[in-house]
């Protein structure tokens, strides 16, 4: 209480009266998860690192990003970015370009040569990781960060899995892939390339040499299209095609390629073939608008001259004039409950013929479960797990081998969660992963009166002629200026940005500004909630007052 008096007029200021007794609810400052965090496959703290970009703290943004994802430059190129779909700014004008900002931070980290810091303490326990794709590398990274000894076994001659052998260079530059993969390898991981863990005996022996095993062998077996002769010279499977060298791709494809499938792999094959100078037609079961590939991939494929025949299936292949006559028929397509499930029934009398000389089926891949028969129990098309734990003690599994979620960043998220589970099983003092406890900040918690409508800054694409002439990247990066402008569009949902609105809007002077914090003066706060209503980020809420 202030006892300064004004001698002529009054004895005391009104501070003698404690109006806090009027109150039934009290504002509470609590940062809450943003909707983008909830939607993010790795639950990245997007609002935090985007603010760091806005403030020009790029090393800080990199540190925040890589808490959950060691591949910001890769994810910033190829993530299916459900974060942007969830963005609260969509209702105001346009979503924030989170993915392009992630790429910006990732590229900066590569060009600046940022490394991961060494673990604080080394732990004696060792974990074997089988599979050097996104799930395996993500788990290796998280376990190594915690100080565990990590040995990684990769069947092929290079790390990256699908990121190396599936995604073409025009979507993911190999220098970027190498930089982010090597940064993980440099953390002191014992890496074995060309090291196939062939069967359950090999797996059991690995389990014997390590305290835990994480199985992330992916889905490497192509699904087979019934009625198609895979041994015929004109048929190449998509996985083999994408993994092959450019010379080999050229040798195996004729002048007109028919790609079967509507997902990302089908687009990758189609666009690769266009870069080899081939005519390309995509045949998908799904009708137009329902193709599972990302919208931007479909748009870019169309720009590059890929032809689409949708809502139809192949039923016969025969030799024709100058190539193959491919008999097709229109179908009724009904998606199923789970990802990858569907029903397609041919419509009588809708048959038609397509011409091509090469057929590349790209209808998805299954995990190879047979080699673990007797040790690991399958559950449908994947290995059965409970919290990443398989039926074999000490053997954990994640990524495509244990899930039908088929996006790269989902595998990264699974690798992270599994690593935390493994860590907690080896050292009970480490916390296992926990589901998000706090509710996500919904749009109406954001006071948009403080946000001018500002259009999104989109990344540019290379011109179509240039794209078709090489395997150089299509998407062009944001400039530093554009990145900062785009980052400043973020509402920072659920994160206090210290704008002082709560302080200034209090009619009772009941908020004190501290160093990067605020305090409510319970003696005077009447509990009106103006501070909450005028908060531009939803970082304050009213709670029942339990002050005695």
């Amino acid at each position: 209480m202030n006892d300064q008096t004004s001698p002529l007029w009054t004895h005391l200021t009104s501070e003698a009266r404690l109006t806090g007794t009027w109150r039934s609810a009290l504002p509470a400052y609590q940062n809450q998860p943003s909707p983008c965090l909830g939607a993010c496959p790795v639950n990245g703290r997007i609002a935090t690192w985007v603010k760091q970009v806005k403030d020009g703290d790029l090393p800080g943004a990199f540190a925040t990003l890589t808490e959950n994802n060691p591949f910001p430059a890769i994810a910033g190129r190829i993530c299916h970015h459900p974060c942007e779909t969830a963005c609260n700014r969509a209702a105001h004008d346009e979503t924030v370009g989170i993915c392009s900002l992630e790429r910006f931070v990732g590229d900066m980290a590569i060009s600046e040569g940022l490394r991961f810091t060494a673990p604080v303490e080394e732990r004696p326990q060792s974990v074997a990781i089988v599979g050097g794709g996104p799930a395996g590398l993500s788990a290796a990274y998280q376990l190594r960060r915690l100080g565990f000894q990590v040995s990684l076994f990769e069947a092929s001659n290079g790390l990256g899995g699908l990121m190396r052998h599936g995604i073409p260079a025009y979507r993911l530059d190999r220098a970027v892939l190498d930089a982010e993969v090597n940064r993980i390898a440099d953390m002191g991981i014992d890496i074995h390339l060309n090291a196939q863990v062939a069967d359950k005996t090999a797996l059991q022996s690995l389990r014997g040499q390590h305290d835990a095993v994480f199985l992330a062998t992916g889905a490497s077996q192509p699904k087979r299209l019934p009625g198609l002769d895979y041994d015929a010279p004109h048929v190449i499977d998509s996985a083999g095609f994408l993994a092959a060298s450019e010379t080999e791709q050229k040798a195996r494809s004729g002048g007109h390629v028919l790609v079967i499938g509507g997902g990302s792999a089908a687009m990758d094959v189609a666009r690769t073939a266009r870069r080899l100078g081939r005519e390309v037609t995509v045949l998908s079961l799904e009708p137009e608008g329902r193709l599972p590939a990302q919208r931007v991939e479909l748009e870019e494929a169309a720009e590059e001259g890929v032809g689409f025949v949708t809502g139809a299936m192949l039923h016969s292949v025969s030799a024709g004039a100058g190539g193959l006559d491919i008999g097709c028929i229109k179908v009724n397509f009904e998606p199923g409950e789970a990802p990858g499930q569907f029903r397609a029934s041919p419509i009588d009398g809708t048959g038609f013929t397509l011409a091509a000389d090469t057929i590349v089926p790209a209808i998805g891949q299954d995990a190879d479960l047979a080699r673990w028969q007797g040790l690991l129990e399958p559950e449908g098309p994947v290995i059965g797990t409970r919290q990443w734990q398989t039926s074999a003690p000490g053997v954990f599994a994640g990524g495509d081998v244990a899930s039908m979620e088929r996006f790269v960043t989902q595998a990264v998220g699974m690798g992270k969660e599994a690593a935390k589970t493994i860590a907690a099983s080896l050292d009970p003092s480490l916390a296992p992963p926990s589901p998000l406890a706090d509710p996500l900040v919904v749009g109406d918690r954001i006071n948009t009166a403080y946000q001018d409508p500002r259009p999104r800054t989109h990344q540019g694409n290379a011109g179509v002629t240039d794209r078709l002439a090489s395997f150089d990247e299509v998407q062009q990066p944001l400039t530093p200026q554009a990145a900062q402008v785009e980052a400043s569009r973020c509402f920072s949902c659920g994160t206090c940005i210290f704008c002082d609105n709560c302080y200034f809007y209090c009619p009772d002077m009941a908020i004190t500004r501290l160093d990067l914090a605020y305090e409510v003066k319970t003696d005077y706060c009447k509990g009106c909630g103006l501070c909450v209503a005028e908060c531009p980020t939803g970082a304050i809420h009213m709670r029942e007052d339990v002050t005695p």
Partner: protein, 291 residues
């Protein structure tokens, strides 16, 4: 986003008895801190008088005289002349009144002070009624609004005080809103530098009087501004109108829906209010274009 731009030097104290969430207390905070230490005030019977508080405590650091409802501007005029006689002409004389003490009961005193161009800063907190005596209507109450004395809705137009004051050719008139505290502070700062009679009318959505939620006074004021019900502008020397924005205002529906006092309105009533707002806006554009 722009940070709010003014400095709180502790000129307005906690512990006052304004309703929880009151936009008038919020506006007083900005005004008293912007006017600063070298000032004295007159307050007419109104919510402001209650918020400043009676003897022996005060929520204001500067001295205030509690005047009568008829004579706030006259008291302030006398006070300024007395200060000048003492050689203290640099002291700001602030007059805080409600719409009852300005539009109705104190209009004569204000008109005479304006006529003489007394060097006072007159702030009217316009909550469109006698809100602390039971919420009766005043001549500032808008058409159709329900008040304690017009349970079926007010049947007269809101008096246009700004044009009345403009007709006196006072050097500075402004409208302000608790939804834009930086603008309010800037207008008070500007008024302080001008000699003569300055009048600032601040829109104050009254929580019980208008039927607005405890946390929604600022939002309601913002809607009033954005819908053109209460546009923000300045008038210099009674002739030069300067509008904060000339963008077409938003429809008034969201503003009306925010308040219980308009809940009884038919679609025709609402349209009539919209037409009225549109007409006033057109006139304001014309005045601003004219010189």
């Amino acid at each position: 986003m722009q940070k709010i731009d003014y400095c709180d030097d502790g000129q307005f104290c906690s512990g006052h008895v304004a309703c929880a969430g009151c936009a008038e207390a919020l506006s007083m905070r900005v005004i008293l801190n912007t006017v600063g230490e070298n000032a004295v005030g007159v307050v007419s019977p109104s919510c402001v008088a209650i918020i400043v508080g009676g003897h022996p405590t005060s929520s204001a650091r500067i001295p205030f005289q509690h005047g009568t409802l008829e004579s706030a501007a006259a008291s302030a005029s006398g006070m300024k002349r007395a200060l000048r006689a003492q050689g203290r002409d640099d002291t700001t004389v602030l007059c805080l009144a409600g719409d009852g003490g300005t539009y109705d009961i104190g209009l004569q005193a204000l008109s005479s002070a304006a006529e003489r161009n007394e060097d006072i800063l007159y702030i009217c907190f316009d909550n469109e009624g006698y809100q602390n005596t039971g919420g009766q209507r005043s001549s500032s109450t808008p058409m159709s609004a329900v008040t304690g004395s017009t349970p079926a809705g007010n049947t007269t137009q809101k008096k246009n005080l700004i044009e009345i004051m403009a007709a006196h050719r006072v050097p500075y008139i402004a409208t302000a809103s608790p939804s834009d505290l930086s603008d309010l502070a800037a207008k008070v700062t500007k008024a302080k530098t001008i000699r003569g009679t300055k009048v600032i009318i601040v829109i104050i959505p009254c929580l019980p009087g208008w039927g607005v939620a405890d946390d929604a006074a600022v939002k309601t004021a913002r809607l009033a501004v954005e819908s053109g019900v209460f546009p923000l502008f300045e008038v210099e020397n009674g002739v030069t109108y300067r509008l904060r924005t000339t963008e077409k205002p938003a429809p008034i529906a969201a503003y009306l829906d925010q308040q219980k006092r308009y809940r009884h309105l038919s679609d025709e009533d609402r349209q009539a209010l919209q037409d009225d707002v549109d007409r006033n806006w057109q006139r304001l554009l014309w005045l601003a274009a004219g010189e």
